[in-house]
Structures are given as C-alpha cells and as structure tokens.
C-alpha cells in the first residue's frame, strides 16, 4: 500500500511539474508572476478537446499531434500578450504587472466560456493509454506512465536547451543579470518574448496532456494556478530543479497524507509550504547578519 501511494504520488508530482515548469521559467527570466499561467493551461486543454477529433480516432499519434498543436497555439497567445501588453510595463511596479496578468486571466476565461460554454467537457483517452499496468496486485494507469515519460522528456529537453544552446546561454545570463545582458548588446525584448512563449507552450502542453485524465471546464485556470504556485514556492521561484523536486514532493506528500491522515491530506501540503518559507526566510536573515 505504501509503495502504491508513493508511485502514485510521483506520478501526480510529474503532472504538477509539467504545469509548474513554465511558470518558474517565466519568473526566472522576467521576474513576472504570471497569474495567467493557469489560463494558458486551460486553453491548451480546450484546444486539445477541439483538435483531437480532427486528428485522432483514438490513435496515440493523433492525440500527440493535437496536444502539440494546442500547445503551439497557447504559445502564440502568450507571445502576443507579451508583445502587446507586458512589454510596455516591465518598468512598472511589480504589482502592476501582476494585475495585468490577472486581467489576462479574466479575458481568457470569458473567451473560453463564450466559445465552449460553461459546461464540463471530456477528452477521450487515446486507446493505447487507456489500460492499466499491474504491479504486484495493484493496478496503475498506463496513462500515468506516459505522463511521467513526457515529464522526463520535458526536463531533459529543457536541460539540454539551457545547457548547450545559445538560447540557453542567453536565458541563463538574463536570469542572472539582466543589466549585463543588455550591456552586451543583446536585445532583451526578444529574450523576454521567447521565454514567455516557451512558458506558455509548456502550460498549453501540460493542459493538453492532462486533459484525457479528467474534466475540462472554464474553471480549470484557478484550480491549476494554486497547485502550480505551491510547487514553485516550495521549489524556489525561478528554480527549475527546485520545481521538479517540489512537484514530486507535493505529489508524494499528498498521496501519503491520504493514506495516513485522510482528513488532513490537503492541509499537509500547505504546512510543508509554510515550513519551507519559514526556514528559507530565516536562512536569509542569517545571511544578512
């Protein structure tokens, strides 16, 4: 039973990482807390819902195509938003930037409701992933293993890009010291737009990938954003590896909580978050002395 819950927690954690990765990437580079991350996730889910029937009659490849296309469209929305709105307010106080992203939340939510209506919709599971894998006398959904694999792939790709490409070098440089990058004559605006698009792509990808595993409706945005923030805060804002560790930890804590303290499972996660914040802020104070 313990192993079942741990495996399960890791699976859920990877799903959370997929959501949180884009959020932490955007924050790392542009210091923007993007409240609209959940909206882009939701958009990815709805676009997948719309596109799946066009490409897939239960085939895995068609599903993958629909998800990727949905994610690309979400990235386009993100890039457009960055160029049209966010770019103009990077010098504004942080609160202002936060409010602008909340405006995007409201706009996307109303548009989604207008296009797809207020009711729940369901994306069908691709046939190949519909079954369960038996380990011992427990069953695990094939789908969760696929998500875990997709999560690992995203981590590997992100590390590869960040470590070994010029774009990655610029990204790291911009995360470390924005001013220095500008002094070197690199157009910061392009870095910011690209990062925001990449983060939006990851959000859309997560939304599309998760869509067959549950319900899709216009309220997904806020459900998702809270979980993503918890993960990112535990992992350290802007820290990719931290987000991965934080996501897996949250998944496992939740599933063990359900096993041992069924009535407190949700509270546990917030307690861990509070503890992490407390320890970190104390550490900072130590440093300042």
């Amino acid at each position: 039973m313990l192993t079942v819950q741990i495996v399960n927690g890791l699976m859920e954690g990877m799903m959370l990482f997929l959501i949180a990765s884009g959020l932490t990437l955007i924050f790392g580079v542009s210091r923007i807390i993007n409240f609209a991350h959940g909206s882009l996730y939701m958009l990815g889910a709805f676009l997948t819902y719309q596109l799946v029937p066009l490409f897939s009659d239960g085939s895995l490849l068609g599903f993958a195509v629909a998800v990727l296309l949905g994610a690309v469209l979400a990235a386009a929305v993100g890039a457009l938003f960055e160029m049209a709105v966010l770019r103009r307010i990077y010098r504004a106080p942080e609160l202002m930037q936060l409010i602008v992203t909340i405006a995007l939340v409201l706009i996307v939510r109303d548009l989604v409701r207008l296009v797809w209506g207020p009711n729940n919709v369901s994306v069908s599971m691709p046939d190949a992933l519909a079954g369960a894998v038996q380990i011992g006398d427990s069953f695990f959904p094939t789908f969760q293993f696929a998500i875990f694999g997709a999560g690992l792939l995203v981590v590997a790709l992100m590390i590869a890009i960040i470590r070994f490409t010029r774009a990655g070098v610029l990204l790291r440089a911009a995360t470390d010291d924005r001013g220095m990058v500008a002094l070197l004559g690199i157009d910061q605006r392009r870095i910011f737009t690209a990062t925001f698009a990449a983060g939006s792509f990851l959000a859309g990808l997560a939304g599309g990938l998760a869509s067959p595993f549950g319900n899709v409706n216009y309220l997904l945005d806020t459900e998702v954003i809270v979980a993503a923030f918890i993960v990112v805060v535990i992992g350290g804002l802007g820290n990719l590896y931290g987000a991965l560790a934080g996501a897996l930890a949250v998944g496992v804590i939740k599933s063990l909580g359900v096993l041992y303290f069924p009535r407190l499972a949700m509270v546990l996660i917030f307690l861990v978050m509070a503890a992490v914040l407390l320890v970190r802020s104390m550490g900072r104070r130590e440093l300042q002395r």
């Binding site: 399960n8 859920e12 409701r113 599971m125 789908f143 595993f213 499972a265």
Partner: protein, 418 residues
C-alpha cells in the same frame, strides 16, 4: 398690471400644482391594483464561479418558464419580470445582491442559489427583509432545520434525504459487503457522508464501513483517493461528489480498473452524463439523481417541458434545469392560490397547495420545515441509450416519505443546535 399678471400666474401655478398632486395621489392609489404591475422574481445565482456549469441549465429553464407564463398572460393578469444577478458563487456577494434586488428592484420573490453557502446567506436576507425565497439547487438541510426561517422553502430533496436514498440503494444490494464512503471536504460532503453512514448502519448492520475519504471540492487529481479506496477492497464506493470532481473520479478511476473491481454510487445528473458521453464506463456506476428527464417522459407535463427546452436551446435539460422549472411552476401555483405576492399570504399558500409538477402529481411543501416531498431517483448508469449520451436504467423512484426526517427528528436536531 404687473401685480395682476403675477397674481394670475400664481393662481395658474397653484392650479397646475394641485392638478399634478391629484394625479399623483390617483396614481399611487391605483398603483398596487393596476393590472400591468409586474411580478418581479429576483434570481441570484453563481452564473460565474464554481456553480457556473450547474446554473447554466437553471437560468435557461427559468427564462423558458417565465416566457411561457407571460405568453399565457402572466399570473393574475400581471406579467412576470425576471431580474438576474451573478453571485459569482460567493456568499457575501449573493447576500448583497439579494438585498439590492429587494430594496432597489422591488422583487417579490428571490430564488436561484446553487451553492449551499450562498443559499444560507441569501436565506438570512430573506428572513430580515421578509421576502419569500426558494432554492432549487442548493440543498443544505440547515436551511430547513437549524437555520430555518419562515420565508424560505426548498423544492429539492435536501442533503440528508439524498444521502439516505443512497444508503437505501446500497443496502438493497445483498452482495455488497464492504463500502468506502467519500465526500468533498466541505459542509455538504461531510453531512452527506455522516448521514449515509448512520443510515446504512441501521439498514445493514452487517456491512463493513471503511474510514471515509475527503478530497477537496473539485479535486483535479483523484488518484491517491482512488488507490486508497481500492486498497480497502470495497464492493462499493459511495461518493458525495459532483460536477468536475466527479468526472475526474470516473475518468481516473477507469484507468485504474476501478469499475472492474468495485461499483460507484454517486450523485449522477444529466449534465455529468452528457459531459462524459462515450467516456462513461459501460458498467459499475450507479447514481442517485434529482430530476432525470428521461425518467419523467411518461408525464405529459414533463414531456412538453423537455420538448420546449430542446426546441429553444437544442439540448436536453439537465437535472438542474428540470428541477428549477418545477420550482418556478410551484411558485406560480402558490402566487395564484395566494391571489398576489404578499409575503405572508404567499407563504401560507406555499405550504397548503398540492401541485402536479414534472416530478409527480402531488408535490407539496411541509409546514414545519418548508421541505418539498421531492423524490430521489436511483439507478444504474448505462451507455445503451437513445439520447447520444448515457442514461440510467432500472431506475427506482424513492419517495420522500422514506427519506424525509420526521417532525420529531427535525425538532431534536433544532434543539441540539441551540
């Protein structure tokens, strides 16, 4: 000359003033009796927020019903005016809007609330401003028991009744020996689980009842709850969940092979079956429902409603729509019986009339807790359906006399709450 002219204009002015005054007095006197003065219904509902998907059907059905009544000349010769407000599924917002509707828009009746929390907040306003208020979705029993107030009535089976009906259904399966209860982690979920467990213990003392699980409302990832429930090797899982969270439970449960190993008994409304469509498991899901249209088609009134709804909106009505329409027609009958919208006369009519509605030919509201004798429908979900989405088969209508708490029980609960 100047004085005279002044005198003349003053006289004229006085005369004019008097005429205007007289006209005003006449208008005021005629006001309440004038035939065209509309009956105003204030609908406060979570048009946005967590209740959005449920309220959609409610609003559609109420708009249809109001238009139908107006097409027949309104009620008592007065047209009906529907004023909608979005509570955003927030109790304080709902209470504020209800107050504005009564004080500024002069509504005669309030309705609409979906979340129990908003319902209780609006009920408090209804009590304070002595404005009749009925609920067709939100169904916390608190409004009928501890927080009861004389201007409220409930046109649904409340949470205790639904949980009792679910217990009856589970107890009726002799081959089910172990049950895991589950509920959303808020007032409604806990009350439902507690009532279900208490009722089941009486009906089936032999049944093993595991510790309940409480996922948060709308939980997007139910997997740890699914594995925890399956680890108990249950024959059946009772789940007081609904909407998106329920869809997550079913879809994720399906990939765990849940429905090959256990059955699920849960609140199963038409909108959930429409949303799941072909993703619904072919067996293993049973449900209790409030107003499943496909079970009501034998009733000509219900059939006419379903057809009118389809013609106007192009879809079949979900339970929220059907029961909200039923609630509106009950109100219409009460207004006609009361001969107007005077709050006290209307409430007297509400508890004395019997209405032939969509859910039966003898709907009425009890006087000591203002609860309608609404039935609960239980059955097994099947994908074999003529409607293009799953429905329920082997449906049993559990009448309210089996599930409604007795007067003594209600009084005991009220005394305990004080």
């Amino acid at each position: 000359m100047v004085d005279k002219r002044f005198e003349l204009s003053r006289t004229l002015a006085r005369a004019a003033l008097a005429a205007v005054g007289l006209a005003m007095v006449a208008a005021v006197a005629a006001g309440p009796a004038r035939a065209a003065d509309p009956i105003r219904i204030g609908l406060v509902a979570g048009i946005s927020g967590a209740c959005g998907p449920l309220v959609d059907g409610e609003v559609k059905a109420v708009e249809l019903g109001v238009d139908q009544l107006n097409a027949k000349g309104g009620l008592l010769g007065r047209p009906i005016e529907l004023i909608k407000r979005d509570s955003k599924t927030k109790p304080d917002e709902g209470a504020k809007l209800a107050r504005e509707l009564v004080l500024n828009d002069k509504v005669d009746v309030l309705t609409g609330t979906c979340s129990s929390a908003v319902m209780l907040a609006v009920s408090a306003v209804s009590k304070e401003l002595k404005t009749p208020f009925y609920s067709t979705i939100g169904n916390s029993q608190k409004a009928n028991i501890e927080a009861f107030q004389p201007y409220f009535w409930q046109t649904q089976a409340h949470a205790l009744m639904e949980a009792a009906a679910a217990a009856e259904f589970v107890a009726g399966h002799a081959d089910w020996k172990r049950v895991v209860p589950m509920g959303f982690d808020y007032e409604w979920g806990h009350t439902s689980v507690d009532t279900f467990v208490a009722h089941l213990k009486q009906l089936r003392p032999d049944m093993e009842i595991a510790d309940p699980l409480f996922p948060k409302i709308g939980e997007s990832n139910m997997t740890s709850y699914i594995t925890a429930a399956l680890a108990q090797k249950p024959d059946v899982v009772y789940a007081a969940v609904f909407g998106g969270g329920l869809i997550n439970l079913i879809k994720q449960g399906k990939s765990f092979g849940f429905f090959q190993r256990a059955s699920l008994v849960t609140l199963m409304t038409v909108d959930t079956m429409q949303a799941l469509a072909k993703d619904m498991p072919a067996k293993g899901v049973s449900g209790y429902a409030r107003a499943p249209f496909f079970e009501l088609m034998g009733n000509p009134k219900a059939k006419a409603f379903v057809e009118a709804y389809r013609e106007r909106y192009g879809v079949y009505p979900d339970d929220w729509a059907t029961s909200s329409y039923d609630g509106l027609m009950y109100l219409a009958a009460a207004i006609e019986a009361a001969g107007g919208t005077d709050a006290d006369k209307l409430m007297a009519a509400v508890t004395s009339i019997t209405v032939h509605g969509l859910r039966g030919d003898a709907l009425k509201v009890r006087d000591f807790d203002h609860l309608m004798n609404a039935p609960v429908y239980v059955g097994d979900v099947t994908t074999d359906s003529p409607y293009g989405f799953p429905i329920m088969k082997n449906v049993v209508r559990i009448d309210a006399d089996k599930t409604m708490p007795s007067k003594e029980q209600v009084e005991k609960l009220r005394a305990a709450a004080q």
